[in-house]
């Protein structure tokens, strides 16, 4: 979701409005947006020109804030991420490819679980090839909790009426982890 904004990716009006509403609420200190530092690996471009160095600095400065924070990867995050990845592994069966959760996805889920966030925000919902979807993880796995034991609300935020420039019009959680 960060790259959705930073890369200015074409998204539906509903998705764009939801992101803007979350950010508007954040600006008014009505929620805390947090993400694993692993997010930076996914978001920061690989080739940096002189201008890009400044852009990168501006991006990283966003997280030096009480209500907009990145969370370090601790040993406990890694251990839980491994448990998550192991749980969702599906070996090759009936000619279908094996399924394995992306390592960074597992780190994001572990970070959100450990920090007890109210909502985990993601657009990632692909189950093609070896991918394990996130938005529909519970439907895909048939279990309503991560690893059938860790409760976590996973959503792809969308504002049904698009952007009506209504700040605070959505019931924004106190803590959320967009990625």
């Amino acid at each position: 979701m960060f790259y959705e904004v930073l890369g200015d990716e074409p998204v539906s009006a509903e998705r764009r409005a939801a992101t803007e509403q979350l950010m508007a609420a954040n600006k008014k200190n009505e929620n805390i947006i947090c993400t694993s530092v692993a997010c930076h690996l996914e978001v920061i471009p690989s080739k940096l020109t002189e201008k890009d160095v400044d852009d990168e600095r501006q991006y990283l400065n966003l997280f030096d804030h009480v209500h907009f924070v990145d969370i370090e990867i601790s040993t406990n995050v890694l251990m839980l991420a491994r448990e998550i990845k192991d749980y969702y592994f599906r070996p090759v069966k009936n000619g279908n490819s094996a399924k394995m959760m992306d390592t960074v996805d597992a780190i994001h889920l572990a970070t959100a679980i450990i920090n007890n966030v109210d909502e985990f925000h993601t657009r990632d919902d692909s189950s093609k090839g070896s991918k394990v979807p996130l938005v529909s993880l519970y439907t895909w796995s048939g279990k309503g909790k991560v690893c059938d034991r860790y409760p976590l609300e996973i959503i792809s935020p969308e504002s049904p009426q698009g952007n009506l420039n209504l700040t605070g019009g959505r019931d924004v959680s106190a803590k959320s982890e967009p990625r």
């Binding site: 930073l6 600006k27 471009p45 852009d55 390592t103 007890n116």
Partner: protein
């Protein structure tokens, strides 16, 4: 309250029949100690169901032997009676038997049937060491039958394994790592010559104790009652994923507001190639 015939009808519906078929080698007779052991295990299971239904410590139901016959199969009829006035024995038996049916079919079992109860079900369905001890063993409630056979034992064992995995408390890292904690520096105390602070993060742990060396006290004073980032050695226990203590090495202020928001930076990485990092092997077991 049910009285007279109504009470008798409901109570009769709640009666549980235990059938046990002896082996052909013993002309259908069941070994006494096998019957005794199975009955003991069945009563233990019934008592666990009774307690789990409403999460009470004491069992609420006793069982009278209301009928018994010795022909092949041998059967005993157990008539449930309430030990406490508030107990609806018919509801207890209905829930118990429904869950036994779910286990037998490998279906969805109520979460109240925990690992301990699931293991008791495995034990109940175990065959005796003596192969001539019994041939078959099953229960009947109001015409419904659950066989306590090898399939029931396998389903119970699978349920027990799943429940153990779910109920197992997560053991977190115990030890120390370098890192940082961000939060409100809310309290200072002096014990044993050390200045002890308490940091209250906005996310994560409720509180983290901060230990500061004497020579760092002056540096800390200017940051009291503000949001700070404390870098240092983080101490962890196996009970929590969060550090319970940080030995401070450096402290810095966290700004309440930054100049720009994410939306202000819309498009700064537009068209830039994203990194392709192959981390997938990192956590493979």
């Amino acid at each position: 309250m049910l009285i007279g015939k109504d009470r008798e009808r409901v109570m009769a519906k709640a009666d549980l029949r235990l059938y046990i078929e002896g082996s052909r080698g013993r002309h259908g007779n069941v070994l006494a100690h096998v019957l005794h052991a199975k009955l003991g295990k069945l009563l233990a299971v019934l008592n666990q169901f009774d307690r789990k239904q409403v999460e009470v410590r004491e069992r609420r139901v006793d069982y009278e032997i209301s009928d018994a016959k010795k022909f092949n199969p041998t059967f005993l009829e157990l008539h449930p009676v309430a030990r406490v006035p508030s107990c609806d024995v018919a509801a207890v038996m209905e829930w118990t038997f429904s869950e036994l049916e779910a286990v037998a079919m490998g279906g969805v079992v109520d979460p109240r049937v925990d690992a301990a109860l699931a293991k008791s079900l495995v034990d109940l369905a175990e065959l005796p060491n003596d192969p001539t001890g019994l041939e078959r063993f099953w229960l009947e409630l109001n015409g419904r039958v659950v066989g306590l056979d090898d399939e029931f034992r396998r389903h119970s064992a699978l349920l027990a394994a799943r429940r153990i995995a779910i109920e197992r408390p997560t053991i977190w890292k115990q030890g120390a790592s370098l890192g940082s904690v961000v939060g409100y520096l809310s309290q200072v105390g002096d014990l044993d010559g050390e200045a002890k602070l308490v940091i209250t993060p906005r996310i994560g742990p409720e509180k983290v104790e901060c230990v500061v060396k004497d020579e760092d006290r002056e540096m800390v004073k200017g940051h009291l009652w503000t949001m700070v980032r404390i870098n240092g050695l983080l101490h962890y226990s196996e009970k929590s994923p969060f550090p319970y203590r940080v030995d401070m090495r450096r402290i810095e202020q966290v700004p309440a507001q930054t100049g720009k928001s994410l939306l202000d930076l819309r498009g700064i990485f537009r068209g830039k190639p994203r990194q392709r990092l192959d981390l997938d092997g990192l956590l493979n077991g």
